[in-house]
Symmetry: C3
């Protein structure tokens, strides 16, 4: 495995192998598996879980990581091509990425959506440009349109909880004071479809996921025996749900226009996943979210603090599945 | 041992065992003792010694640490309960702490006193709330009212130097341009009393340590054979002293009112531990301070740069005793 | 080896031994060589390569590092002597350096030139004051006037590429919007001279390297069989060059006077190493730079992106030679 950028690049068997390895490393630690190995971590966007869980995963396998972020005391990083660098930025990513990459046995990159142009973000232009500068394995730590580590952790969490492969998975849009990227919702619908689930995207008008994202999920569903549907109706969406996965994302109608997006969202203030969402869901239904989550805005305290919530398990599984990914990438297992 | 929050939770025998283990790990390193083990470090307050010494301690035992701090490029952390999070903070400690905790085999937390309400700080309300969110072992890296790692390091430093168990320990208030927390003075008087010393708190009117702190120290003295007294008179305090431990702390009369506190302290500018303090102390007397210390304000250069000062030994012992604490917490020794 | 501050402290045989060790560690890793060992890293100036490569080097040898920087959430560091610390800075380097040093088996220090007084910077006053506060081995991670790790990496890079020992090495001044320190050009001319090369410093009037720097390089050349010369003429400089090493540095005529320096440099805007520089160089000539480098200002994209450029190899060799330095310093090999 030379990169981990998209679950779609893996077969169902490869996902199974990764999750089996993850479970094994969690119960039977291998504290020397990656001794002397280095994970380079480049954060162009903020992080808590990713920052902590990748470092922890490397230590558990006997190696180590280092972190580079322009927020640290380094020179700003220039990303534009063919430019005369007479401004603030003292270094170009054309040097910074290969250099950082050359110190590691693998390179993790986080670069959130620029949210200027939908096509660019759907094509993951920036992440791919960064990844192309590396010569070794690259791990996507959340790009404009993907978040494969989160998706793999969510998959494992549902397996751990015995959520049926053909269960009903509801991705439900919630209000958030800021226009957020499409990475998690896009990765999540694909993951649930690939797992074979009946996926329902529940979102208000103007917040449809882009056709290319829906098509990709549909194709995964076709192969796995799952299904994809969309609705604006909450009761229809949550009927018999196994999972209600809350997430906010920006409007795709007015993508990149934060003021227009804000106007669209103003009418949706108060759209928060609360206990009512679970009225007609399965009794065993669970609440999921990738975190960070805004309490009282995206989800009610009662849900998040109640027995349905599995958000901490999801977050812990980030570390566990990443151990498997790192093991495969750096040790060549699997 | 499932937490290390207060020396008062340990028996004298347990302290002895920790210090014996610390000495052993310092002279006979165990670079594989904690291989594959992870220490999670959450800093809600600034740090130099604690940040460096815990990371160094983990490496020396073959494991590793990761650091999370809101000063880093993460979303602000909300701490209030029942709140609608529509402001700046994107994450609540109710998620952040369990998540960070789930990546580590132990969790170190630093959270200085809020200095709004004395009772809250004396009850260590914030630290306890944070620690309660963790399911694994917690290590207090300085809370509103405690600093057990500093106290253990100071205890070891006195042992290393052969300071008698029944020696005279003077905690002497010094001026500082800012109103500082009660954590170090409170922990220090208790530590010295528990070690069996004759403890004298030398402070100006208005800067009495709270009764609950003095009572706790008195109880420790009763058990150890030590004693506790207070005085405003410097010559009385330092007479025959083995240790003069300088520290500034805020007024307890006007706690949390920084302006009133500043007024009280204005008359005390120049109250700095200098050579005169040692005139009637023992010839072998030592100067101690937890660091950071303001030269020329809290202590004179002559004292700090002279042979009495053991502040660097105290700081190095932070790492040494923390190795013992981590060994016990993570390996179950002791 | 108790410090690594200047290639001039090493004999040619010692450099050879370090480079041989570096090559061995790169091809035959020793992931337990430094198990349980700690590298303390103090950054008083910004960093990317140094920050990443030292951490990576320690992990590859089985140890670990910690990083302290005043940019992090610590109290500011006071450096002046005999001062009453009643301002912002809460800690003095007289405590901070010995404390940080006491947690590590070696201490790396980065402190760029203050650029106030040329004699102070040439004498490396600040770095030496910091290094004198440490009791263990110190590694220079770039000081006012030296950068031995960069020089050793550049030396290895030329060896790796088969650049002849008696080859022609051109250090060519380029424009930069800011007045930069003398550390890299000073260290570089000495390194190339010590390697036995014919070194040409190509710089405009007002940007002569200081006599003491040129004398030191001349002495190294006398011992190695190399030579040192200076010229303002580009075609003369690059004639038959094996290496063109671009670097900007501040005027030495108006050292520390940024406005006067800026005026001198204004006429030199556009002085950028482009393909023309290689017209009369050897066909096998290479472009070198220590990075970070400003594209379109110091060097043309065509050169940096072309086959002559070896800047990424130089940067990777930072990690490789530092493994050798750390191995010698901490394990006592060599």
């Amino acid at each position: 495995m030379l990169e981990f950028n998209d679950l779609a690049d893996c077969s169902a068997e490869q996902i199974d192998a990764l999750l089996t390895l993850a479970r094994r490393l969690d119960t039977a630690p291998e504290p020397r598996a990656l001794e002397g190995k280095v994970l380079a971590l480049l954060f162009l966007s903020p992080s808590l879980r990713t920052l902590a869980s990748f470092q922890a995963a490397m230590v558990r396998l006997g190696g180590g990581a280092f972190v580079i972020s322009p927020d640290m005391s380094i020179h700003g990083l220039e990303t534009r091509g063919g430019i005369v660098m007479d401004g603030v930025a003292a270094e170009h990513i054309k040097e910074a990425v290969p250099v950082i990459d050359s110190y590691g046995d693998a390179l993790g990159i986080r670069a959130f959506a620029k949210r200027r142009n939908l096509d660019d973000d759907l094509a993951d232009t920036e992440f791919k440009a960064l990844a192309d500068l590396a010569s070794g394995p690259v791990i996507n730590m959340e790009s404009a349109i993907n978040h494969p580590c989160q998706s793999l952790a969510d998959w494992k969490t549902m397996d751990d909880l015995g959520v049926p492969k053909r269960g009903r998975f509801v991705l439900s849009w919630a209000y958030h004071p800021r226009a957020l990227p499409l990475a998690v919702p896009s990765a999540t619908v694909h993951m649930a479809a690939m797992r074979g689930m009946d996926v329902v995207v529940h979102r208000p008008p103007g917040f449809e996921l882009p056709p290319s994202i829906m098509d990709k999920a549909r194709q995964a569903a076709a192969e796995s025996g799952g299904s994809i549907s969309e609705t604006e109706d909450r009761r229809e969406a949550t009927e018999g749900a196994d999972i209600i996965y809350a997430k906010s994302w920006s409007s795709t109608q007015r993508y990149g226009d934060d003021q227009a997006d804000q106007k669209l969202r103003e009418d949706l203030i108060g759209r928060c996943v609360d206990e009512n969402y679970f009225d007609n869901a399965k009794e065993t239904s669970r609440f999921m979210h990738c975190l960070p989550v805004r309490r009282g805005v995206v989800v009610a305290d009662q849900v998040l603090d109640g027995p349905r919530s599995v958000v901490i398990q999801e977050a812990r599984n980030r570390m566990v599945v990443q151990m498997a990914v790192l093991h495969q990438v750096m040790k060549g297992s699997g």
